[in-house]
Amino acid sequence: MSSEKTIEHSEAAARFNKDVERVNWHDETLWFVREKRDKSAHQILDWELLRETASKIKNNVLSNIHDYLLEFEANAQKNGIIVHWAADAKGHNEIVHSIMAKHDVKQMVKSKSMLTEECHLNDYLAEKGIEVIDSDLGEYIVQLRKEPPSHIVLPAIHLKKEDVSETFHEHLGTEKGNIDPQYLTESARLSLRDTFLTRKVALTGVNFAIAETGEIVVCTNEGNADMGAHLADVHIACMGFEKLIPQRKHLGVFLRLLARSATGQPITTFSSHFKKPRDGKEIHIVIVDNGRSTQLGREDFRNSLKCIRCGACMNTCPVYRRSGGHSYHNAVAGPIGSILAPNLDMSKNADLPFASTLCGSCTNVCPVKIDIHDQLYKWRQVLVKEGHTPTVKTIAMKTMSTVLANPTIFNIAGKSGRFVMKNIPGLVNNKMNKWYDQREMPDVPEESFREWYKKNSREAKAKDNE
């Protein structure tokens, strides 16, 4: 994962598109989730006001996050929770490992946490000889296949049941060729039940952390976070600091939005509020920065930190649906991933803000009203300024800008060969015209509009009649 060479989005997407049937299926399946989201959202009369309210709460958080964090920590400690702070991924992984080491435990059961994906915790712990089992069914599947999740809510959405069947046959000994989802899920249930019953440490993510009460909320449909946490001696919950919300009552807003935006469900099956550890047990919360405070300082991009990880922008994104989550080579894929990733590593992720048509659908479905497509546009400007675009593209753009700023040259260039179409960057870099691979060029008309206008406009005709 982290050590592999990054393949650019466009290239990975081109590979993904080689299997047309698979792309169609991927697109239709995610579009179905988008439609479920629409149906669910449209049943809430004041849905748009709800989004606006959530956005305001999160904006308020961004400008008070320092104080809310201190309030949260103090309250969590009062509740008997142990709070840790990690400046980066390395710090986060070390803290988690130190808790494991303190308890002399070598096995962990983990529920879905995109933060631990971001920090590559599993790899780190594996090196330390600690076995991690992911308990969310989708994550469990991709973990067995040694793949990263391709979607933050639907980790195995890139796979078909035949793939899962093969994986389970190999690792769990299920019947070869049995592709019944019910059967496959039941097999995973049995296997993971044993895991839940034997693990002393459980790690979960955090959906919301409430400053006012020091509690955290974890949402799942499967109940896997709870099965892990309530059976273990130690519950470690990892959160990016932007997960904070001010008050308990604000959960009313976010829990109404989260699942409806994610899958169209009215709420996740379980919305669990962890406030105090069980008697004699421990809850640890690891608050992680890992670039978030830098993003907070980027005026144009800070409100990406409002994200509640519903995945709606991925489901609606026509590019994501047709390129697959892995093409984004980042823990969080899709439109939101493309505005978060450059903050983590500009050079490695310079391709992502360009993996969009800027259609704006992402912004419209976002439950906290992040201006995702505008930020994609703005990241492009930053990446160009910081020198993360190919020189050949810059040269082409400079030529274009000179011609387009000068009507005389433009008219000559236009006449001699339809300037703009021939100079769309990318063309000049390829011997083959990428437009022409699967599309025809438009016919060249006898005269341009301006040539026609010179002869046929009202003024021209009036002159003729003089």
Binding site: K56, N64, L70, W85, S135, L251, Q265, F270, I287
Partner: protein, 195 residues
């Protein structure tokens, strides 16, 4: 400098001036003329089964006729001691692994999503609603409210170590978006709507 100080210092430097005050949640409408009908409809849609009952005897009768009493049934409700054991709340939670049915009582239910609010004091053990094969939750009809906003008004500053909203049985659609009930938690959820 410690990580905490370091992070907080950077945040203080980078966080914007106040963008907005906290919004008024009262503007969000909570009207629902028939919360009870909505509750039942939503519950059915997400895979739960609503059962209307007049009293505990009817619940006992229902359980007797629909579940195998030879399997392990637990509850925290003294009125149901005839069908479920009450003496498990101080046991090792792992010992609940063979529970077939757990019968609980919720503080209230929410019509818009059919979620039921339960906390430590009614759970017996935190893991109990997750580890049982099947789950039955009792809620008084008068305790059905319209939306999550009212839910949190009702919870207010309620003290608890753990609380959760439960909406329907445990589920997953991680294999090709095919819905399967009973991912890790309960395979089925009955909600007894009590007069």
């Amino acid at each position: 400098m410690s990580s905490k100080e370091d992070i907080l210092k950077k945040i203080k430097q980078n966080q914007p001036a106040l963008m907005t005050e906290l919004p008024d949640l009262n503007l969000l409408s909570s009207d629902n003329p028939d919360v009870f009908v909505t509750y039942k409809t939503v519950l059915k849609n997400i895979g739960g089964d609503p059962v209307e009952v007049a009293n505990y005897d009817e619940i006992i009768h229902y359980i007797k006729s629909n579940y195998n009493l030879k399997k392990r049934i637990i509850t925290t409700i003294p009125e149901l001691s005839e069908i479920g054991s009450l003496d498990w709340t101080n046991d090792d939670p792992h010992s609940l692994q063979d529970v077939e049915l757990n019968i609980l009582k919720a503080h209230f239910g929410v019509a818009e999503n059919s979620a039921l609010w339960v906390t430590d004091d009614v759970l017996g053990q935190r893991v109990s609603p997750f580890i049982a094969q099947y789950l039955a939750i009792i809620v008084h009809k008068k305790d059905i409210i319209a939306t999550m906003h009212q839910a949190y008004e009702r919870i207010g500053n309620q003290e608890y170590g753990f609380g959760t909203f439960i909406a329907g049985p445990s589920k997953t659609a991680d294999i090709e978006q095919s819905l399967v009930l009973g991912a890790h938690g309960a395979r089925g959820l009955i909600v007894f709507l009590l007069d």
